[in-house]
Symmetry: none
Subunit: 402 residues, 2 copies
Amino acid sequence: MADRPIKELNWKTPLEAARKPSLNQIAKMGICGIMDPIAPGVPPGSDTATLALLGYDVLKVYSGRGAIEAIGSGINVSPSDVAFRCNFATVNENLVVLDRRAGRIADEDAVKLAESLQKIRLQKPSVKFLFKNTIQHRAALVVRGQKLSTAVSDSDPGKVGVRVLEIKPLDESPEARLTAKILNELMHKFSKVLKDHPLNKKRARRGLPQANIILCRGAGTIPNTKPLSELYDINAVCIAATSLIRGVCKVAGMKLVDIKGATGTPQTNFVAKAKSTVQALKACDFVLLHVKATDVASHDGNIKQKVELIEKIDHMIGYVLDNIDPVSTYLAVTADHTTSSITQNHEGDPVPVAITGPYVRRDDVEEFDERSCAKGGLNRIRGMDLTPILMNLIGKTRKFGA
Amino acid sequence: MADRPIKELNWKTPLEAARKPSLNQIAKMGICGIMDPIAPGVPPGSDTATLALLGYDVLKVYSGRGAIEAIGSGINVSPSDVAFRCNFATVNENLVVLDRRAGRIADEDAVKLAESLQKIRLQKPSVKFLFKNTIQHRAALVVRGQKLSTAVSDSDPGKVGVRVLEIKPLDESPEARLTAKILNELMHKFSKVLKDHPLNKKRARRGLPQANIILCRGAGTIPNTKPLSELYDINAVCIAATSLIRGVCKVAGMKLVDIKGATGTPQTNFVAKAKSTVQALKACDFVLLHVKATDVASHDGNIKQKVELIEKIDHMIGYVLDNIDPVSTYLAVTADHTTSSITQNHEGDPVPVAITGPYVRRDDVEEFDERSCAKGGLNRIRGMDLTPILMNLIGKTRKFGA
């Protein structure tokens, strides 16, 4: 949601340009500030930012996106597993990448291809793998066995027009060498299966880019963290569609709710998410409601769509505001990172944050945007401060000292 | 002193509601901000907060209240000693706690009982103990010997209506087992002496709760820290009545001043403390003047009293302001934590802070309270930043680098 000032918006940010009465209402009733999701100037990933917003020190606990994406997709990842974030992609006969997302392949195609890939057998029988598609071209790969390592490079070159990379060990250990070897074997076998897959032939006939390779990146293990239930004695619920955010919430021990029509895209059902949030709040202490759509618009550089999506989010927040008990509920709104519609990347600028509820020290900020909130009573905090602040407001923090 | 907005005060905080010309004068002349004693959202103890305000990284150096309380009570605690915070309390014949404070027993009764307890001998002659009453029902116990451990549980159940707890080792070490055994022996012998003590029989005749048991909690050792004199080449003085604060200041190597009439209660002699502060400033570099009273009122949920006590503190500060040399003296006012008069607990909200003196970057804040200070030039700092900031202003910090 957060952005930088944009010339096309008369040097306003999309948040400043949008009509957002409910977000402003929260700013008016509450205490505002700006927040560095990780640290000033550090562009956060969606996973690290969300982990930080849930109170974790990501600089200490985070080791790559793969495991979080895999957990979010429903794979039970063990601490010794090595996991990767994958894309279905399109390459030519020389393995030069033509489309890193295989035309943003539809879920129903991806699931069929993933099922075929899962049937592959590795040479080394003691090593197993789990491959699962998530949303569109996105997938997760988990490699399970003794003596594996996260010290391996990516096969994903990160851009089109260049050749797919061989996976290499990043240190001298036998574990890294073994893991790289297994990954290269898998990538090769995946390609073979995909190339000959009837569904790809069908896609070619329909003029769609073939999903003829899997690109993998971000080797990692699951973060070694305590669940929120243990840290704060709460039960917590996650309302999010993207598997990365769901993975983060699962790492935090939160209950995942499935919402019909919540897709992690600009076409998501905002109202269904709001209704589920109100419902969830009746039975639990803490709900994280996450919307991915504005980030998608920013990555596409679609400024107009970003403003419209902020207005839809505002409408969604309005429903939540109208249907919760203001005497007993605290509500915080923020972004997990700044995404610039100009650079189309996550950026290290701080995000606005506002908290409303019975006993906050209300300030005189009247609008929820990057610059108004910078004048608020919270001043400038870190992402990992937000959950302790909220837990303290609802009486769930423990005193440190006597 | 710091609090949250309260409905009864028309959603002002007690600081916002109080008449406080001298505190406002400091805000006007100085630079203001808000401060997280430990970290945003973390409710501090009085000991950890004060240690942090003196510049120490409590998350690294703090290991329990017992040793600090013991030092504050005048016991010379060695690094190998294990110390406990104790209460004189009242139990029935089944060891069910009736009053955790034995009717807030008067100091003159507590000192007599403590003297009797100190005469007890332990079975193991190589282990010694020191027991000392502090204020009212509060006392400190230090166990001294080879191979002791802080890994033991409390005998204090923390509430009335339940039985006193047996002290248990918290790990498998022989040290923890030995320490638990010694503590249980001591607790048992203490009870026996107290039960038959003539003073308790007298209390019973006068209708007062008998102080017939000692409850102990918070096993700890002294923090491993360097004194302020070594860190900043200063001599520092503490003006405080509560033994916990005095203990913290002694840990910091500060000189403790005894003030007639300073009691650590709402009835303390504010003016005597102010006079001692002015006097101490003539001979030393740094004085910590601490008032406990507002915290007591908050824990009692007595909003009216809290406002009145803030006004008394303001009067005390006025005396200091009028009697120091403004050309050579810096003055900082703050709270060691937020105590909510509603929850009656320490809370993790930040506290206001104002610093005045010849060369501060004066801002435009005009009132000393939680929300006005949030707009000040200090922005939001951590408790452990305050002493370095002050030491820098008086030219006592060393350059880091070349």
